[in-house]
């Protein structure tokens, strides 16, 4: 009798604990690399935005199908003046600290994002003025008509003006200078989760924001998120297999089959909006890491062509990526406006021709250069770089490889210190202009923010700069096509492949993969 009673009590206790845990659902989320900063305007960086989307809201965001959805704006349209957009704002929204959200915050956030420290300013370089018409209406005036303005706002997060003033974060963090401000480890957004604790590269904890404007509209079943970056691929896979984490963002390609075969894990897969490529500093008189003195080998198009045909992209896809990539000829995946199958054709590998080209360029004995790589940012980034090191070596270019964490890589890259580097680029606005604007236009304070190649072409610049205000769609597409042609002829970058996205979730989780690789956890639900 006593035994039965004890068993019943124990059973009740266990089931009560289980019910309690069902109501308080914690999501243990792991990725390879961490967000670089919580300052929403400091870095235009995929994982940084992916984490920020849980806490901050933009006016417009891309949902799981990459369709634009109303965020803090409920509607947007061009006014009678084609250079002015009108945004109607969401009513009754409050920030995590309780202050109400108004048009002033939007005006402030745009101004902040236009500051020279901001990496987001290129996206809104066409914006002339942002005016608060009334507390729930904002007018954005642009330099000439800008039909694609909304596409550029999907990662532009809105901060509280009052909070920024109180904490002295009116300007964005100067990331490449190694600066820190209050907004780097603290956050006050309008998003579905609020930041509880932040330990960069170790652990970030968020809890559900019960005052979120989307409560009831979205599943919102997670009560707590624990984000842990795990750099080692094997450890990441092991953590997912052992049930230590519930959602894994960067599944190692070699472990996809293993995870797929596990009954407790569901794999989610889709083509990703991200292209991996190599950049070469072509503008300098002399490279920093090369044995060639008094000349820059990368400035010679024959050298760039030799490198382009020395890289065997199919081998990288088959061996390094195990089929989980699409070899690329251009820096834009197929769902971006301006993409054509012809532009994306992979150049045929020809090592002998590459050697000939190097000889013609005067480097019959090759030359040395250092390739700088991340080892925790892109899928198998270090292995890709190792493979390319070998392939270029076969053509005669002696490449030294320096692989390190992405936080160091991006800081050095943005200080313009790298000769030869890996980079991956996503195109959230789904239009070629975004690629041109950041990666290819001549580097000035307002354009070419991520153009670290020193490449500059007048015709290209004039074509690209005409795009934002070009209202004739056919004419616009013709300009995009011509601009891509110049880029391909000049071999500014060496595209490698478009990534394929692989996420793993616990089998009782219902979620969908988003091609931007930005998990919107408010959509996640438990079965």
């Amino acid at each position: 009798m006593k035994k039965t009673l004890r068993a019943v009590t124990l059973g009740t206790a266990i089931s009560m604990i289980m019910i309690a845990s069902a109501n308080a659902q914690t999501l243990r989320w792991a990725s390879a690399g961490d967000s670089l900063t919580f300052d929403p305007h400091s870095q235009n960086h995929g994982q940084t935005h992916a984490v920020a989307h849980q806490i901050y809201n933009p006016l417009i965001y891309l949902d799981l199908d990459s369709e634009m959805q109303p965020g803090l704006a409920v509607s947007w349209e061009v006014t009678d003046d084609p250079s002015v957009w009108e945004f109607k704002l969401r009513e009754g929204v409050t920030f995590h600290d309780g202050t109400p959200f108004t048009a002033d915050d939007v005006v402030f956030s745009f101004q902040r994002a236009q500051h020279p420290n901001s990496d987001m300013r290129t996206l809104i370089s066409s914006v002339k003025e942002v005016r608060a018409v009334d507390p729930l209406t904002v007018h954005i005036e642009t330099n000439g008509p800008t039909p694609l303005l909304p596409n550029n706002l999907t990662n532009l997060f809105i901060m509280s003006k009052v909070w920024a003033e109180a904490n002295n974060v009116l300007t964005p963090q100067d990331y490449s200078a190694g600066e820190e401000n209050f907004a780097v480890r603290n956050a006050n957004g309008t998003g579905p989760f609020r930041l509880v604790s932040r330990d960069p590269d170790v652990r970030t904890e968020m809890v559900r924001n019960d005052e979120y404007w989307g409560m009831g509209e979205f599943p919102m079943e997670i009560s707590r998120i624990v984000l842990t970056p795990i750099q080692s691929a094997a450890t990441r896979a092991a953590a997912m297999l052992s049930g230590e984490i519930d959602f894994l963002q960067d599944v190692p390609v070699q472990d996809i089959n293993r995870l797929n075969n596990s009954a407790n894990i569901t794999m989610l897969s889709a083509p990703e909006n991200r292209t991996i490529f190599f950049g070469m500093d072509q503008g300098r008189e002399e490279l920093r890491t090369s044995d060639v003195k008094g000349a820059n080998p990368f400035a010679d198009i024959r050298v760039r062509e030799a490198m382009n045909i020395a890289i065997n992209r199919d081998a990288i896809q088959q061996v390094v990526m195990r089929g989980q990539s699409v070899p690329a000829g251009m820096i834009a995946p197929s769902f971006v406006n301006g993409w054509t199958a012809e532009l994306d054709t992979v150049p045929e590998t020809n090592v002998n021709r590459a050697k000939e080209l190097l000889t013609e360029a005067g480097y019959a004995n090759g030359f040395t250069v250092t390739l700088t790589c991340t080892n925790d940012r892109y899928v198998n980034d270090e292995a890709i770089c190792q493979a390319v090191t070998g392939m270029l070596g076969q053509a005669g270019i002696n490449v030294r490889l320096d692989a390190r964490a992405n936080s160091i890589h991006f800081a050095e890259l943005q200080q313009g210190e790298l000769d030869f580097f890996i980079l991956g680029w996503a195109v959230p606005p789904l239009d070629s202009h975004y690629v041109f604007d950041f990666l290819l236009e001549t580097k000035t304070p307002d354009t070419g923010a991520w153009n670290f190649t020193g490449w500059s072409n007048e015709e290209f610049d004039s074509l690209s700069r005409a795009l934002p205000t070009e209202t004739d769609l056919d004419e616009r597409n013709a300009k995009i096509a011509r601009a891509w042609e110049i880029v391909q002829d000049e071999i500014v970058y060496l595209p490698v492949h478009h990534q394929v996205l692989n996420w793993a979730v616990r089998q009782d989780i219902d979620f969908a993969v988003q091609s931007q690789n930005q998990p919107m956890l408010k959509y996640l639900s438990f079965k």
Partner: protein
């Protein structure tokens, strides 16, 4: 024991080798099959590593000699794309595991020997000075040794490695990595030698032959080098052999943690670390073969060291 007489009065025509073959040590050695096997394996691995450029089918450190399409070939099975067969398979970049092991063992042994030599020279010097001079010099050296002994060797090595890394400019780090590794392992291991040599020196320095040398007015340096040092080398040899196994393991541990030699010049530990990434996906050979080689090497050297310690210890005879 049996050949006590030969030991004390060797025949005139026999050289050092003859004396070795006649010694107690060799007699003991020849009666232990496990020790013979250990010695054989150690010699084979050392020779294979030393002659790696002539034995290995290709140079794994030269990325230009690799064919990526050969990557992930299982042992004794043809590659899915190229059809090539390698008896130990290939790694993720198409390096032959066999070549990688030969070159990896070369790095591991080089670091091991160099670190032991460095630690021994430093430890012996400090031990001789401490034991012979005594006084405050002895106190200072031995207290430093005690403090260092209270930290695990791996921690000390990591600390020294971290400091050296931050002092060396970025572009020189790859070339300097191996020297930094030798320095950090050597510095973490000198205490053993210093303590042993000091205690032997304390015993030796009051013996008659040292007193006699002193009476003749021989300088301290000469007494230490010519009279005391040869008489304290026995125990040092034993520590050195065991130390070699420890140094190889420490090097592999550091490289496994990713702070050792760079992955373009893999040691055994680096090979195990790289292969570890692929254990879950079933590519076991990338990590198993280097791991097995390390196991054999460390075990053989360790057994040799243990045997040497017992054989040279008069109390265990």
């Amino acid at each position: 024991m049996t050949d006590q007489t030969t030991h004390s009065t060797p025949p005139a025509e026999s050289g050092v080798f003859r004396r070795f073959l006649d010694s107690d040590l060799f007699y003991d050695f020849s009666r232990r099959p496990i020790i013979i096997l250990s010695a054989l394996l150690t010699v084979v691995i050392i020779l294979a590593a030393a002659f790696a450029p002539w034995i290995a089918p290709h140079t794994p450190f030269d990325p230009a000699s690799l064919n990526l399409m050969d990557g992930f070939t299982p042992p004794m099975e043809p590659n899915a794309f190229t059809g090539n067969v390698y008896w130990m398979g290939t790694d993720s970049q198409g390096r032959y595991i066999f070549s990688a092991i030969l070159y990896g063992a070369r790095i591991s042994l080089l670091v091991g020997f160099a670190a032991v030599a460095f630690a021994a020279i430093l430890g012996i010097t400090l031990g001789l000075i401490a034991g012979y001079k005594g006084g405050w010099i002895d106190t200072v050296i031995m207290r430093i040794a005690d403090v260092q002994l209270s930290f695990p060797a791996i921690l000390v090595a990591l600390l020294i490695f971290g400091i050296s890394k931050s002092l060396i400019p970025n572009e020189m780090q790859e070339q300097a990595a191996i020297y930094v590794l030798i320095l950090s392992i050597g510095l973490s291991d000198w205490v053993q030698y210093a303590r042993t040599v000091r205690s032997s020196t304390l015993a030796e320095k009051n013996k008659e032959y040292v007193q006699a040398a002193r009476l003749f007015g021989v300088s301290s340096l000469r007494i230490l080098a010519r009279h005391i040092l040869p008489n304290v080398m026995g125990p040092v040899l034993v520590i050195g052999t065991i130390g070699l196994a420890l140094a190889i393991i420490l090097e592999s541990t550091l490289s496994f943690l990713g702070v050792g030699v760079p992955s373009t010049q893999p040691s055994l530990g680096t090979l195990i670390r790289v292969g570890n990434e692929f254990l879950f996906s079933g590519e076991w050979w990338i990590t198993l073969f280097p791991g097995f080689t390390l196991l054999i090497l460390a075990l053989s050297v360790n057994l040799l060291g243990d045997w040497l310690r017992d054989a040279l210890n008069p109390r265990l005879r």
